[in-house]
Symmetry: C2
Subunit: 390 residues, 2 copies
């Protein structure tokens, strides 16, 4: 176990119809001016937004709404609204939505107090020193941004997607009503399942001690999510499974599953390269294609861990260690296929001709090694992985 400092400040309000408490929650925290951030309008149709507005009115909380955050959200959206937000002077940002909306709220939270280029934090040219508090009403189980320190934003002009981490942007609360996710379609539900699993798996495959509690927690998240995923794909209104996915979304990315471990997300970086260049690719779908390819390459360098994964998560106990390690990867691939995820890059219309561009973007034209664990993920390894899932 390595040294760490960890405080997970997000308070979760979990259960059916918990969004009714939004007025009380904001009032108790003494907030008076809420900036509400939403996506492309679904929360208007579902009546969630009108309900929130009603509760805020009841508690005499003033609000300003900004809407239209797209999937793979852009810094341009933040730039467009920043002046009017500064004029409004919010004391809290309330994100109603999923990862894209929450990450947008987080970037607003830090850019509000920053006079430089609004993409500086993502470009790692500056570190945030102050932020508005962010609260969340979650509507999709996927990104885990509702409890995480991470903020990933697209820059269309640069054709990049970049993230930064700061305790300042960890939401102070998240309201989680599993019923709000009943209407998420099968494809988006599956993308979310993959995203939750990947937040967990990426941490799991970072180096561990022999007796590593974080890895036991990770196995618990994975087993719960796989079981819930199998059910929810058949029955989108299975409350228990929707609840498991929602809670695991938050707990897969809040620091628990890498507590006392080094942190790294190589497959996420491979995917950010992909959806940075092709913003129409859903993040989870990109991960579903890339992780098996990454795993089949790295299994040769980390057979023991892949074997443990197969055993503890999938219950696979083939006698030969290498066979068993490969079996865990195969079962993961089959699960992704079962829930309706793509398997090859060509399903996104990405072909051999695109790989050079992707790798240049990912490695800053060959100057950057993406990850260092076991066998460094450099330009050459990235090429092998991308090519193997064409």
């Amino acid at each position: 176990m390595i040294d760490f400092d960890l405080g997970i400040k997000t308070k979760i309000y979990f259960g059916a119809d918990k969004e009714n408490e939004i007025g009380n929650i904001l009032s108790e925290l003494k907030f008076k001016r809420a900036l509400i951030v939403i996506g492309q309008g679904s929360v208007k149709k579902t009546k969630l937004l009108p309900l929130v507005m009603e509760k805020l009115d009841e508690h005499k909380i003033v609000y300003k709404l900004i809407e239209g955050v797209r999937p793979n959200p852009t810094v341009d959206f933040v730039i467009e609204h920043l002046d009017s937000i500064k004029e409004f002077k919010p004391d809290i940002i309330l994100a109603i939505g999923g990862g894209s909306v929450i990450d947008t709220a987080k970037l607003i939270a830090v850019d509000y107090y920053y006079d430089g280029d609004p993409f500086d934090f993502n470009n790692h040219k500056a570190k945030p020193k102050k932020a508005l508090p962010v609260g969340v009403i979650l509507t999709i189980s996927a990104a885990g941004s509702e409890m995480s320190t991470s903020c990933v934003i697209q820059n269309d002009a640069q054709k990049t997607k970049k993230g930064f981490n700061s305790e300042l942007i960890r939401p102070i609360f998240a309201i989680e009503n599993p019923k709000l996710t009943y209407s998420v379609n099968q494809y988006q539900t599956a993308c979310g399942i993959v995203d939750i699993m990947m937040h967990t798996l990426e941490r799991y495959f970072q180096p561990s001690s022999e007796n590593e509690p974080a890895d036991r927690f990770a196995e618990g998240v994975l087993k719960s999510v796989i079981k819930a995923g199998q059910k929810v794909i058949r029955n989108p209104e299975d409350y228990e499974s929707r609840a498991v996915l929602m809670l695991m979304s938050s707990w897969s990315h809040n620091g628990l599953t890498n507590i006392g471990k080094p942190f790294g997300m190589p497959v996420h970086q491979l995917e950010h390269g992909l959806s940075g260049m092709y913003p129409s690719i859903a993040h989870g779908a990109g991960l579903a294609v890339l992780w098996p390819a990454w795993a089949k390459y790295y299994v040769q360098y980390d057979e023991d861990k892949f074997n443990l994964y197969a055993k503890n998560v999938w219950g696979s106990i083939l006698p030969n260690k290498r066979d068993n390690a490969l079996q865990g990867i195969k079962l993961t691939e089959e699960f992704f296929r079962y829930i309706g995820m793509p398997q090859r890059l060509m399903e996104f219309k990405v072909g051999a001709i695109d790989i050079d561009g992707l790798i240049n973007l990912l490695t800053d034209n060959g100057t950057r090694v993406v990850a260092h664990h076991v066998k460094p993920l450099d330009e050459e390894v990235a090429r092998i992985i991308y090519n193997s899932c064409l």
Copy 2:
């Protein structure tokens, strides 16, 4: 999964020599007057206390020391010091020690703002409305009080030991250096291991849904603790195992392993009856005797869960479900014996003649049912359980 609200505010500073940061931590949080609470002097001998004082001096933080908290700590200690504490006007209470010291600090934190009987919160006659913040430097892995909302205190006059819970008393930080526990002797280490396991097991055996993430987390805690316990009993300076016990101590009692589940602690209540009446009994040792007795009685009412426990924690897969369920209990008992725990009440010199008094205390003279799950734990069942481990 049932509805819940949960925010775990405690920030953990974990690693070798982390106590060196105490001055910085208090300074950054703007504290200026620390009440230091310690036990019976071991932190003076180990030089931990002088180090803390030096760091506080460096940061110009004024402090007052109160010392002499005993195991199974008493409300009398709090009463004795309350006036001088009010005179000192601390803005933070710093507990340096284990569960007894931390629980004493917590009671001071709420009694500081309360004019009624200092045992009212424990007697459930009042609920705390305000508390001083509590910070911790942990020196023994056991009670989990460093991250919990719980405060259990002895009342010698009443011969009772009673607990209350409040978010107000959850510590705001805990400094955890596994090396500080190297000097904890084998018996106290074993008592701590049992306490950590019991915080987890009691929650685990509360009702669950079919796919319950909290139970997967609990299994992770238990597997990690058993493995570390086996090692640390042979080698008290095994850093990794001490680290696992310390971290699991905190995470077994902070709400994670019952997230989305009903909460109850029947065996703890049986034990509080016992050590309330006989304060020389170490809490963990009492639990080690009582849990197997409780389990052997309750297995008939909850065979499936005991079977799952045997399988997922101990890897036992006997073909007959009842046999397997019993095997899990047997392996737990054997583990407790292996780490040096007692097995019968007579080892504490508690005999048949004492049972009536114990039960009267536990059930408020037969007027109270201790727990309601599966088969209510009433006077009659308590008698069966106490008698079976005489």
